[in-house]
């Protein structure tokens, strides 16, 4: 079956304070077939702004990394080194970050239902929450 829509998230931890506290929530999302992590890696930006990356399963004696590696349902290395450089541009120096490539697993049964019903996906737009907030503020000002 084709993959569902893919989303890349870069979760930065300024000051290199990466921790595994996001992992239980990731586990829950995966358990619920909401997402699947099809690629991911760990990125480091040093104080000079130099970027390097390692695979989760290469970090070694780090329980969180091992857990993250275990959550991966890796399809391919979908993120290239150039992608890493671009995605890391917004990270502060002296940061670590988890780059995760989500597949929106929940879309697949919905997509199948749309196709089965003879429907056509005529438009699909993801609106960032900040934009929604701005619109709501503007609407409140209008009323």
């Amino acid at each position: 079956m084709a993959l569902g829509p893919i989303e890349i998230v870069v979760i930065g931890f300024p000051g290199n304070k990466f921790n595994g506290e996001i992992i239980p929530e990731l586990e829950r999302l995966i358990e619920n077939d909401t997402i699947s992590i099809v690629d991911g890696l760990f990125v480091l930006k040093d104080v000079e702004g130099e970027v390097d990356f390692v695979e989760f399963d290469e970090i070694g004696a780090n329980d969180d990394a091992v857990r993250l590696a275990g959550l991966m349902n890796q399809v391919e290395s979908l993120i290239s080194d150039e992608d890493v450089a671009e995605l890391a541009a917004g990270l502060e120096p002296n940061s670590s970050a988890a780059m995760l490539v989500f597949e929106h697993t929940w879309v697949k049964p919905f997509r199948d239902a749309i196709i089965a019903s003879g429907g056509v996906l005529a438009a699909n737009l993801r609106i960032p929450g900040l934009v929604v907030d701005q619109l709501l503020d503007e609407l409140a000002a209008v009323d």
Partner: protein
Amino acid sequence: MPRRRIGRPGLVGTMARTAVIAGTASATVGAVSRGQAAKAQSAAQQQAAQQAAFESQAQLADMQAQLATVQAQQTPPPPPATAPAAGDDLMVKLQQLADMKAAGILDDAEFAAAKAKLLG
């Protein structure tokens, strides 16, 4: 396999590249983007049309102002008030006839006839 990502195509690069090649950065949002583009274009056209209308109105006003200036320049100055003040009724009537001829109300023959009658 620490370097298996190097020099290979990736999601972000592919997204950027396909957007350049085919304008398909996100096929799913294409319809919406096109709709918005069409709206934006139509809004721009409307604005351009309004602008053009405004400009032609401005030009019209400008032309009218110019015309008024030209007319003011061409309009013969009113007959000197001294003529009637002189009390010469014949002169006033002759002047009126001349004005009527100048204004095209009387042609040459009519003017001549009227003048002949006045001068009787």
